[in-house]
């Protein structure tokens, strides 16, 4: 019954610790606690954000405790575009580069902003669920969300300016 939450719980931990073994440990801890507390679970309350809150707590504790502060490096899937018309190689390369830049910008955010982005966009949680999973008031989620988007836009604009000035322009996409 709980298997369907397994992936999102594991991934939520992975986005915090960046290590599969640590993420697995944190996820296990979350499920163990979940099993024990199932009988006490408030009816009508949402299970998913509740268990995510446990695993994110676990994962953040582990990250804080680990003296070795490895920088998190998320990788993007190396994939062919799914569905639709096959893009030109130029378009594909540009899109990929843009994604890498966006990912780098996200990873460059401060931790709270990064957590909001990861929860809202990578784990696809709603604002309310994000608030519960992170244990923040909804207003805080809203403002951190807005701040994170603002920072990302600034960063991307700066990247773009730099790209233009360096003359490495390859803006010849066919419409």
């Amino acid at each position: 019954m709980l298997e369907r939450y397994q992936e999102i719980v594991f991934r939520a931990a992975y986005l915090v610790v960046g290590d599969a073994a640590e993420a697995e440990d944190a996820a296990q801890e979350a499920f163990v606690k979940a099993y024990a507390a199932l009988g006490r679970f408030r009816p009508g309350a949402q299970f998913r954000p509740w268990i995510l809150r446990i695993v994110v707590n676990e994962a953040r504790n582990r990250r804080k405790a680990t003296r070795r502060r490895a920088s998190l490096a998320l990788r993007l899937l190396d994939e062919r575009r799914s569905g639709g018309a096959a893009p030109s190689p130029e378009a594909a390369a540009l899109a990929d580069e843009a994604r890498q830049r966006l990912l780098a910008a996200v990873m460059g955010l401060r931790e709270e902003d990064r957590l909001v982005i990861a929860h809202r966009y990578f784990l696809d949680l709603s604002e309310a669920e994000t608030a519960e999973a992170l244990g923040w008031p909804r207003g805080t989620v809203k403002s951190r969300h807005a701040r994170a988007l603002g920072r990302l836009r600034e960063q991307l604009a700066a990247d773009e300016e730099q790209a233009m000035h360096s003359g490495a322009s390859r803006r010849s996409i066919d419409g």
Binding site: R11, D25, F31, E97, R99, V106, F122, L156
Partner: protein, 284 residues
């Protein structure tokens, strides 16, 4: 198609972020729920898996799970009764959890076998690690191994080195000694272990059964914890890398835990408190 590189509207950026999220290369999801559930489902009388030789992550899950099973029973107590138990313990806090008694020491013996025929398999169940000499143990770990110097205890009969904990744990086993009772169902009088870590203070220990007494003591000027009637207990420590881990006690007896510099020391046995404190005071 939204081009993420263009610093455009919020809409484009949010779409781009969603798209990015779809493309993150996560490691494959391990079968977490199955692992947790299979531990939960194991019937009590069945042949037991060697708990202590499982990877640390699974052991932690088992320990916490077992804790919660006990806590589930404890939930039957009224809130007032539970609070009384908690207050009675009253220590500023060492994270200690109680496990229900594991029949593991008996299960792998054939029925009808001589109950006193304990020996090498017993050590395996205790999960102390690899049998070595004291000199070998010293060469295997980075820290200076401390040894009890109490004359009546003499030299350890057996020495083991094992991992986890990270960095290696040295276990010293003392068998029969005059005046030292044996721990239940073993031929061990005193077990002393040490490893690099710090006891986790600040988390209140809960879930200890009413038959267990927990007391703060002083060992060579450091804080120590004495537990009597604690058949199976898990305590938390921070390992050399700063990660919090759980460590189960090995004998169904009394425990003295204390911190000496970078080392967590643990003395287990059916010995009385003053005896344990005396041994501990002579550890150097």
């Amino acid at each position: 198609m939204a081009e993420p590189g263009r610093a455009g509207s919020a809409q484009n950026l949010q779409e781009a972020l969603h798209e990015l999220g779809d493309r993150i290369a996560y490691p494959p999801t391990p079968p977490i729920v199955v692992a947790v559930r299979s531990r939960l489902a194991a019937p009590p009388g069945a042949r037991r898996f060697p708990l202590f030789s499982l990877p640390a992550g699974i052991r932690l899950a088992c320990a916490v799970l077992a804790l919660l099973l006990v806590a589930g029973v404890g939930m039957a107590l009224s809130p007032a009764a539970r609070t009384t138990v908690a207050e009675r313990l009253g220590l500023p806090g060492i994270a200690i959890m109680h496990l229900p008694a594991l029949p593991s020491l008996d299960a792998s013996r054939a029925p009808g076998a001589d109950a006193t025929a304990v020996g090498a398999p017993d050590r395996e169940r205790l999960g102390l690690g690899e049998p070595v000499t004291l000199a070998e143990a010293r060469s295997r770990v980075a820290y200076r191994v401390l040894v009890p110097t109490l004359p009546e205890l003499g030299a350890p009969d057996e020495v083991y080195v094992g991992e986890p904990p990270r960095g290696g744990q040295v276990a010293l086993v003392y068998r029969e000694r005059p005046g030292v009772p044996l721990a239940p169902e073993t031929d061990i009088g005193v077990l002393l272990t040490q490893f690099d870590g710090s006891l986790v203070i600040g988390q209140f220990g809960k879930g200890l059964g009413p038959g267990t007494q927990l007391e703060g003591v002083q060992v060579a000027g450091a804080n120590g914890y004495w537990m009597e009637g604690a058949p199976h207990v898990v305590f938390r420590y921070q390992d050399g890398a700063g990660v919090v881990r759980s460590e189960p006690t090995r004998l169904a007896a009394n425990v003295l835990l204390w911190q000496r510099g970078d080392l967590v020391l643990r003395l287990e046995g059916a010995i009385a408190k003053d005896q344990a404190l005396r041994i501990a005071a002579w550890v150097g």
